[in-house]
């Protein structure tokens, strides 16, 4: 028995590990079908047992646009880069709702899926990734409302629009970055999931969604633009309506920073949450 074990190479190796390796990433890729199923379930599950069902995806941003344009556009007369306030607002809200939803999911994804986590193995990284991807549905729904409004207002489109998908997709980087860190923190400190709505509200006001970037004082602007959502929202308005500057160096810098947070988050997530079930 000992003789055939000298060159024995098992497919699954189980031992205490630290850190993360490329093999972990490859493993996540091998579980892409699981991620897809989790995403579909997420979407179906959200509006199950509601009267309006999936149409809530569209109703919500539409209602949001109406409320915010009345309050901030008509009553408070917030400057909106010369655009109808509803359009201005929705262009910011679309990438934000993506980010917002992904982060909300990340805070509870481990506890929500404890049934599965406690019974079967799969790379736990799949969970926040699936959470972020399912947030893309909100993004698409907001875009549908936005495009309908653009038709209504007869807003001319520019060629900039070809950049829109790329700019919006880049919101996945900060979304996943925050999701990963949040996943780790909430696993140890359940309180954080209660603070999450208020933290997201603060982050929303720290992004140019209801107001324009011009409203931010000049001397704070560099710091302000380190928030990657600033570049993404400004970029979306530039691509859709041709207002403001094309995404530039600050956008690249903020995304690079977010990417750094994402990679470190992935490593920390992977190395601390292999035994996550011990603390859930």
């Amino acid at each position: 028995m000992e003789t055939n074990s000298v060159d024995w190479t098992p497919d699954i190796v189980i031992r205490p590990r630290r850190g993360a390796t490329w093999a972990d990433l490859l493993e996540v890729w091998n579980y892409r079908e699981l991620a897809l199923i989790l995403v579909l379930r997420e979407i179906q599950g959200r509006y199950r047992r509601t009267v309006f069902g999936v149409s809530w995806l569209v109703i919500r941003p539409a209602l949001n646009a109406i409320v915010f344009s009345v309050v901030f556009g008509s009553v408070l007369k917030v400057k909106s880069d010369g655009l109808p306030y509803a359009l201005f607002f929705l262009a910011g809200m679309a990438p934000w709702s993506f980010f917002n939803y992904a982060v909300m999911r990340a805070a509870t994804t481990l506890t929500d899926n404890v049934h599965i986590i406690s019974k079967v193995y799969f790379p736990r990284l799949v969970l926040p990734i699936a959470g972020v991807i399912s947030g893309a549905v909100d993004l698409l729904a907001s875009l549908v409302v936005l495009l309908a409004l653009m038709l209504l207002y007869r807003t001319p489109m520019t060629l900039n629009i070809v950049w829109l998908p790329l700019i919006l997709a880049s919101a996945a980087i900060p979304a996943l970055a925050v999701s990963l860190w949040l996943g780790v923190v909430t696993a140890y400190l359940r309180d954080v999931s209660y603070a999450i709505t208020i933290l997201l509200q603060i982050a929303m006001y720290a992004s140019p969604i209801i107001y324009s970037l011009d409203a931010v004082p000049e001397r704070w602007r560099t710091l302000y633009q380190l928030n990657p959502m600033v570049g993404i929202i400004q970029g979306a308005r530039w691509a859709l309506f041709g207002v403001g500057d094309a995404p530039g160096i600050m956008f690249a810098l903020s995304l690079g920073l977010a990417l750094l947070i994402l990679v470190s988050g992935a490593i920390v997530f992977q190395s601390t949450l292999r035994s996550v079930i011990d603390i859930l």
Binding site: P16, V120, F122
Partner: protein, 392 residues
């Protein structure tokens, strides 16, 4: 040819509690070959489930190493990895993908899984409406049909009904013959003995014994019972009887002379009583009545030396009286033993033992036919033959 599919080496798991650390598992090492059926037995909390969690990669070990060749599927407790809001069908796909199957593979196996689990009419209902039996059936069906190289089964079969349990056992056996390796945790020793050739006994987080199932189960059962030790026969003078001859010691022996607390149905057993006569006295015509009763006091066996045609002859000093049963006929259970020593003259009671230690029996293959567990659960087994004739 055998080949290694699973190896655990020095595996350990430490939990940090508030003020201390607890080793749920320590120094666990064993090898499993392809197609082997391995039973895991031990107390609740001995570490069996922790071991399974490590092997299934639900959690990581704190020390040591384990390697597995091929695909592993695990059935850990009830409702393995199901999402309650999803339908049976959706859960089949979810679990299939978790176990490493492609969608097309699941498509191909879907009908087989549904048929085995007998959940056809409920396939498109959320599993939260399933009964616990349906849960287990579906979980087992999925795990058994993903063609795993190693299958871990933790106690789940205790939930299903009798017919399904039988179906699962048959399936497990056929998986084994197809080269699938099965690790099986159960408190039902009869199931372990029927299914597993090798058994690992885990005690206090460590491997207490490993080897052929029969040996390990016997060791385990004996250890279980030694906890409830018998006070002994020291109180001889307090017992009823004239005391012309007294029993000084009592035990049960296996065929090899080993003392035991546990007998196996169908295996030889000897009841041994040591005696001592009153100093300088010789006693003749001693009758020994040995009775075995069930827990309601019904007499099941009466072993009387005269009835069996044996005369002890004159007894003086000290010695042993023994009664050997070539194939023990009682099935699994706990029985009371009573012994009485009588003198022939006037049937005077010389000694009476009402408080002998309980006799514990575990099921065995009485007929040598491979059946250990008996569905109808008879109390007795006797020698018998079947024959048949055609015609008439």
């Amino acid at each position: 040819m055998t080949s290694l599919v699973l190896r655990a080496h020095g595996l350990g798991k430490r939990y940090r509690l508030k003020h201390s650390t607890l080793w749920a598992l320590r120094d666990v090492s064993f090898d499993v070959q392809r197609g082997q059926m391995v039973g895991l037995i031990g107390h609740n909390g001995a570490g069996k489930s922790t071991l399974f969690k490590l092997l299934a990669r639900i959690t990581e070990p704190s020390e040591g190493y384990a390697g597995i060749k091929g695909r592993l599927a695990a059935l850990l407790e009830v409702g393995t990895g199901f999402h309650r809001e999803l339908t049976g069908r959706e859960n089949i796909y979810l679990n299939g993908s978790i176990l490493g199957m492609k969608k097309r593979e699941v498509d191909r196996k879907l009908d087989e899984i549904v048929a085995f689990a007998e959940v056809g009419p409920f396939l498109d209902s959320p599993v939260k409406y399933y009964s616990s039996g349906m849960y287990v059936r579906l979980a087992f069906a999925i795990a058994a049909h993903v063609a795993p190289d190693v299958l871990l089964i933790d106690e789940v079969l205790a939930v299903g009904d009798m017919a399904f349990q039988h179906k699962c056992r048959t399936k497990i056996k056929s998986l084994g013959s197809e080269g699938c390796t099965v690790l099986f945790v159960s408190h039902d020793l009869a199931s372990v003995r029927q299914l597993c050739s090798t058994t690992v006994w885990i005690h206090g987080g460590r491997v207490a014994a490993i080897g052929p199932t029969e040996d390990v189960v016997l060791q385990y059962s004996q250890a279980m019972l030694s906890a409830s030790q018998w006070a002994g026969l020291a109180d001889a003078q307090a017992r009823p009887g004239s005391g012309a001859i007294r029993v000084t010691n009592y035990w049960i022996e296996l065929e090899d002379g080993q003392k035991t607390d546990v007998l196996v149905t169908g295996k030889p057993a000897s009841f041994v009583l040591e005696y001592a006569t009153r100093a300088g006295q010789t006693v003749e015509g001693v009758r020994l009545s040995l009775q075995i009763q069930n827990e309601w006091g019904a007499s099941l066996l009466w072993l009387h030396n005269h009835m069996l045609g044996h005369d002890f002859g004159p007894l003086a000093g000290a010695g042993q009286l023994r009664c050997r049963i070539p194939r023990f006929p009682l099935t699994a259970g706990s029985y009371d033993v009573r012994a009485q020593l009588l003198l022939q003259v006037g049937s005077v009671v010389a000694d009476e033992l009402e408080t002998l230690p309980k006799l514990n029996v575990i099921d065995g293959d009485f007929y040598g036919s491979g059946y250990v567990r008996r569905v109808e659960n008879p109390i007795f087994l006797v020698d018998a033959d079947w024959s048949n004739e055609a015609g008439r």
